[in-house]
Symmetry: C2
């Protein structure tokens, strides 16, 4: 049995504790400074407040931020479960204490412009920390609450070393938690970041054309889904030179359109709520989709200025940017989709 420390007591990190502890590992759920209330609640009740399910007393323990260094130093696997705004903290305050040869699994999704390149978070954290730690990642279609309820869940475990991936899989897979293994780390990480933006795009349709009894208005949804897949394919090719992880894009887009938080803001915007009001309504949620849409659109604009790409190849993404940042009204460029 291994000792595993999950840093960050957000939704996905806290959910992953269940399958890991069911496999008999000693799991330390360590909150950051932002997670104090969550750790308090877990310590008091043994039950995760968001999931309402008890953790196994014999294998799971709960910790505050000041214990993280000590836990990480003795762990056989470290999971990065902080949100987008915590990646510098994780890179600087946690990664340096991971033992040599111990891999990290990142659950944090995003892309960031570093010196003109739009890179994924595992790569960014590796660069910032300067350590040689191998950072793998899990991405793909997973509603965390369903994982906790033992629904069959198939996600991608990606990293640069196939042997490390097999080792991590052996620690965390269960009869209901299935892991595709792939060495296309950059592809999977770009895929799962981009899908948030495009889930917002598909959801616009749900606000514009709400399903009725006799008409699901599935054609516009599917048109946007197809355009999303086209643009995500182009982005994966631009960012990584390969679209082999498109299956992760497509399936994660599917689940996010139906089960994610991003759907809420897309539907509101489609229904005509101004961007500012929609954002205010949801300000308590970590809407990574907004950040990723802005970063990706700005990067594409720069690439267009350099003559590398045509923003005309990304009409849906650019319209999402105009809605969110330019506060333009929703007016989907259908004809641009079929150029």
């Amino acid at each position: 049995m291994a000792e595993i420390t999950v840093v960050g007591a957000g939704m996905m990190g806290s959910a992953l504790v269940y399958p890991m502890s069911e496999n008999g590992h000693k799991v330390n759920l360590a909150g950051t400074a932002l997670d104090r209330d969550m750790i308090d609640a877990c310590k008091k009740t043994g039950i995760h407040p968001k999931y309402g399910r008890a953790y196994d007393k014999n294998t799971v323990s709960f910790h505050y931020a000041d214990e993280i260094r000590g836990l990480v130093e003795k762990s056989d696997l470290v999971v990065c479960g902080v949100n987008s705004f915590g990646i510098d903290y994780f890179a600087k305050e946690v990664l340096p204490f991971v033992r040599g040869g111990v891999p990290v699994v990142s659950l944090t999704k995003g892309l960031i412009d570093e010196g003109g390149d739009l890179i994924d978070y595992p790569t960014y954290m590796k660069n910032v920390s300067g350590t040689g730690t191998e950072i793998c990642a899990i991405g793909g279609p997973c509603i965390s609450g369903e994982l906790v309820q033992h629904d069959h869940t198939v996600v991608a475990l990606c990293g640069t070393n196939a042997e490390t991936l097999k080792y991590i899989k052996s620690l965390i897979e269960t009869p209901y938690y299935h892991l595709w293994l792939t060495t296309d780390l950059h592809g999977v990480e770009a895929a799962v970041a981009l899908k948030n933006v495009y889930a917002l795009g598909v959801s616009l349709s749900m606000g514009l054309f709400p399903p009725e009894a006799d008409n699901g208005h599935l054609n516009p949804q599917a048109g946007l889904f197809g355009q999303s897949v086209r643009e995500m394919t182009r982005l994966l090719m631009l960012l990584t030179g390969s679209a082999e992880s498109l299956y992760v894009c497509a399936s994660d887009l599917y689940v996010t359109v139906f089960g994610g938080r991003t759907r809420k803001i897309g539907t509101m915007l489609g229904a005509g709520l101004p961007a500012k009001e929609a954002k205010d309504t949801l300000k308590d949620l970590t809407l990574e989709s907004l950040v990723i849409a802005e970063r990706t659109a700005l990067w594409l604009k720069k690439m267009t200025d350099k003559g590398v790409v045509e923003t005309g190849d990304f009409p849906l993404l650019m319209h999402i940017y105009d809605i969110l940042i330019g506060e333009c009204a929703v007016n989907l460029p259908w004809k641009a989709f079929s150029k």
Copy 2:
């Protein structure tokens, strides 16, 4: 204005008459011998019985099978709207009468084994007829009833000649009907055929794990969706050498999972109804998915015997075949998905 003849008064052919007539073209809706009742009803009321919407009296006329040859001989565009079982009829009895230089647009979806190659219907019909007629096709996410109601609909218009595609697009696109143009005819046609099989696969989940108030069971659906995209990518590569039309696969899969007839049989099978009973229940529907699943699986088995592929790369398709043809119980091979 052009004269257009639609051969076959099934759902999609009859739906396409609306946008074509709205563009002012003279449209002849010509039923086959199977469509006599439908043509009777249209002649009597001017309203399509399935859609409940009147056709434009000034531009649309209705015809029986014996008029098809005469209509086709004078048309500027001919649409093949027969079902899978009518493609030999169309190839032998209709195609020879299409004027030189007049293109055909096929709406019929399927794949067929011809001398060891699994080929699409436009290619098959061209081979059978021996004519030089250019056969283009429309495929992609479209619930026909929603098209009739003017929902935004984005589909792929594919063919081998880009100029012909532009000409056809100019005849049939409307402010709500949008056409991606692509010369990847074989890719689109394989995509739209295969998506029927995989829609059945994803729908198994809806019978196995029906959504509840507090759990949509989206993770298993999305896992199957992702596995479908992986297998469809491999099949497109095998059949056409390119996966560029995967966006059509993915978006058509999306709409078929939610709005298609295939979902019904997938859900029934997932809920435990034996294959024979599920097929009997739906015997009045043209369940092309069953035919395509069988043909594709048998072709893959042959290719495996030749050492060209591994059926292990298509665990979902082979399980669908085992359920439908072997009448096995549903037992999704989740672990095979993550191998």
